[in-house]
Amino acid sequence: MAFIPHTAADVAAMLAAIGVARIEDLFAEIPPELRVKSLAGVPEALNEMEIGRLMSARARADGIALSFLGAGAYEHHIPAAVWAITTRGEFYSAYTPYQAEASQGTLQLIYEFQSMIAGLTGMEVANASMYDGASATAEAALMAVRANRKSRSARILVPQTLHPHYRQVAVTTASNQGLKFEELPYGTHDGITAADALARYEGQDVTALVIQQPNFFGRLEEVDALTDWAHARGILVIAVVNPTSLALLKPPGEWGARGADIAVGEGQPLGVPLSSGGPYFGFMTTRMEYVRQMPGRIVGRTVDSTGREGFTLTLQAREQHIRRARATSNICTNQGLLMTAATVYLSLLGPQGLMRTAAAAHARTRELVTALTRVAGVRAAFAAPCFHEAVLQLDRPVAPVLEALAVRGILGGLDLAGYYPELGHALLVCATETKTSADIERYRSVLTEAMQSVRAA
């Protein structure tokens, strides 16, 4: 009965009250020729036990592999408390806190989230979440066009070291509004944005520069120099950052002399399971001066009619339900529940725990690179330091090697052939605090076999 609690007596009484004979009569306004004849294509109902069995079987079929994949989604330990709290009905089954007095839980939590994200990024204000890191990056580009009043070009410089999917999402999202994304090349020897690539933009009207730190290869960009270069030319800086890394790396708010103008990123590492890619959440921060250009919901602290502290949605005049066609974005539903998880996660980790997590991830990745480059035919693609992720170069095609690893239960990383053909047989690998030395050793030894099973190029 589709979670419908009506008894036959209820239905009879309700129809009588309405004054119709049958439920069917309530649909009299719908032209009969439009009525659905059949819903073939939707199978018969399963009860909870049956769907449970089906889902368990499908989950078991997918299994759990030993994974060294990163590339924008990271396996971290998620404390049990995070989802025990997050799935509480009062968070899980509430909606956007339009009725502030009956939603102080969600509202205060968003305020705390905004505070933590601002603290982490070193920025002044944060919103209550975007869809994911990629869409937040796209929205940041749109926001920069609004915020940078001096620029009229809507040209956005995007390094090729930005996650390729983020670049694609930015184009899909913003090109209809006339934004132009121009790609900045990187050095194939060092994997970071080439400083001389900037030279050709001297004197031109550019709206914003995007910088990802660490970049897609796990390499560290020269964020201070890039930021100062942009600011000196009236170009806004959009930082794309991994939140875990910020426990150790300079936050965007401190890049260069003035700090980035907008900082966004993928929130998934903060307590959100990998889940085949979602739901995750994007975070977005900026300077106070740009807050009215920011999309998304924002919570403010205020007082009630008796002077008691309370929280409420604020600056709603930016949003679609008030400003409609002139809103900063069309976003309405965001990723609230994931933001909830992140807020609990950050509370449990705190500055020290997050630092340890970042440090462990970095140390594990170094250990991984050291181990794997001991395998014949494998070397590090870039000499310089990486953070948390690294590119390896193989002497033979990556795809068959990954397949050979997969049949042995190891997901060995991401084949970069489709994304960066210029890098040759390149493989992006990642290890976080969840990997032990034994795991790494297992990868090394299985890789040794796998390499042998694939002919060198």
Binding site: L39, S93, Y95, D304, R324, Q352, R356
Partner: protein, 492 residues
């Protein structure tokens, strides 16, 4: 008596922490390769609390919320129906949670099978030819839809079509989406009985028309009776029809947007298909398209070859509008919708439509009988309906907002207020099919009591709520004296 719940930073003490959650420290040397100039100098301002402090704090915070699990929540246009616990439990099986988005298809046939079948079911209930699941909310689906409309015209070399027609009652995301897609919005009025003004529509269509965005049943809570005419007018003018399917609940299993002539639709799985609203999200705004727009679907989509499922990408869909999210959208949300739809089955789909409509019409009738004014008294309610309190506002100086706040005291979440904007002092009420007659009756009783208070003791209503954790909040101050992040010395 009980103190307010502090902001978590106020519990923080230097050096405190949930140590059991942390990995072991690594030797400083392991970080030695990181250039000093790129390192953080001072630790971030994050709370330092133990696990108990965090759990206690957030548990207490949660209790300050109304939610479906605790209260009737008839928020119009939001479909706050029950979120079955099974959907959460089975979507959170460890294997589903652990799967990396870039894991090979061979290690994901289970989840891909679910997504593929979800596409098929959504296609069946919407009457469309193809479905893509990656939009992460309704507005995101709208974006995908309008972007496909633009891509369609562009692919035909029809480059001047940049106007999107929107009825004045439309949800704010519709005009906002049109703008996001670089279109110009043309608003058209609705008639006094809630249908689109066809003459106004005829006047506005033309060679610049990219399409029209419609909700049916409209946000006025009524079925657009002239839909066939609308479709004809727009199609004849060369435009496409976009169906805002945020709220399919009332027509589920009854009418299919595809059959009404729509070219593209988004469906809010977090409404009709009961994935949780989560205090603001996540949602999922799957898009369905007719034949003309099939080539433009966003990637990735799940395809099937023989018995194997695989991702279709730009290689398969070269005209795709592209990628909308870093990976595959909100997979975990999609799994919840899938589980829900399988539990409903074919028959359940229709029942949802029937009982959502029954509940709305019953509640409307009871409120009318109790003396409240329907905005469209001559119309049937769909999944929702509008009550206007303009009489009360005029005669008693008690507004829709006052009623809304007072309802909280009676243990009911307020309906949507002041939307759609064209009905004065409106309450948009959507009971959903998962509520009992008893609950609806209790809601009516509360409304009647509030009406009595408004007549005899209006200050009880205008100063409501009285029993919430806070009284009415100062929104003006919130916007003027922005306090958006906690600071060590900040005091409200």
């Amino acid at each position: 008596m009980t103190a307010r719940e502090k902001v978590i930073f106020e519990y923080s003490r230097a050096g405190r922490g949930a140590l059991d959650q942390w990995p072991a420290p690594v030797a400083a040397a392991a970080l030695g390769d990181l250039p000093a100039g790129l390192r953080r100098q001072r630790p971030p301002l994050l709370p330092e609390v133990g696990e108990l402090e965090a759990v206690r704090h957030f548990t207490r915070l949660s209790q300050l919320n109304f939610s479906i699990d605790t209260h009737f929540y008839p928020l119009g246009s939001c479909t706050m129906k029950y979120n079955p616990k099974a959907c959460n439990q089975y979507a959170m099986l460890p294997e589903f949670l652990a799967r990396h988005p870039l894991a090979p298809e061979s290690q994901g046939q289970g989840v891909l099978a679910c997504l593929y079948e979800l596409q098929e079911m959504l296609q069946a209930v919407s009457g469309m030819e193809g479905v893509a699941l990656s939009p992460m909310a309704g507005a995101h689906g709208e974006f995908a839809g309008v972007a496909m409309i633009r891509a369609y015209h562009r692919a035909r070399g029809d480059l001047k079509r940049n106007e999107i027609i929107v009825p004045e009652a439309a949800h704010g995301t519709n005009p906002a989406t049109a703008t996001m897609c670089g279109c110009v919005v043309r608003e058209i009025p609705v008639t006094g009985s809630g249908d689109i003004d066809l003459e106004a529509l005829k006047a506005v269509v033309g060679p610049q028309t990219a399409g029209i965005m419609l909700t049916n049943p409209s946000t006025l809570g009524v079925f657009e009776r002239s839909i066939a005419a609308v479709a004809r007018i727009v199609h004849e003018a060369g435009g496409l029809l976009y169906y805002d399917g945020a709220n399919l609940n009332a027509i589920l299993g009854m009418v299919r947007p595809g059959d009404m002539g729509f070219d593209v639709i988004h469906m809010n799985l977090h409404k009709t298909f009961s994935t949780p609203h989560g205090g603001g999200g996540p949602g999922a705004g799957a898009v369905g398209v007719g034949a003309r727009l099939l080539p433009f679907l966003p990637v990735p989509v799940v395809g099937k070859a023989g018995e194997r499922y695989r991702w279709l990408t730009e290689a398969d869909l070269p005209q795709s509008i592209g990628r909308l999210s870093a990976f595959m959208g909100n997979t975990g949300v999609l799994l919840r919708a899938y589980i829900y739809m399988r539990m409903l089955g074919r028959e359940g789909m229709r029942q949802v439509g029937e009982y959502a409509t029954l509940n709305a019409n019953y509640l409307l009738k009871c409120l009318q009988d109790a003396g409240f004014d329907a905005a469209y008294p001559q119309r049937r309610a769909s999944h929702e309906f509008i009550v206007t309190l303009k009489r009360q506002a005029r005669e008693l100086n008690v507004t829709a907002m006052d009623f809304a706040k007072r309802l909280l005291d009676y243990g009911f979440h307020a309906p949507t207020t002041y939307f759609p904007l064209l009905v004065p002092e409106c309450l948009l009420i959507e009971p959903t099919e998962t509520e009992t007659k008893d609950t609806l009756d209790a809601f009516v009783a509360a409304m009647v009591r509030i009406q009595g208070e408004a007549e005899h003791e209006p200050s009880r209503v205008t100063s409501a709520p009285h029993t919430m954790p806070v009284r009415r909040l100062d929104d003006v101050r919130a916007a003027r004296q922005l306090d958006l992040t906690w600071k060590p010395t900040a005091q409200p």
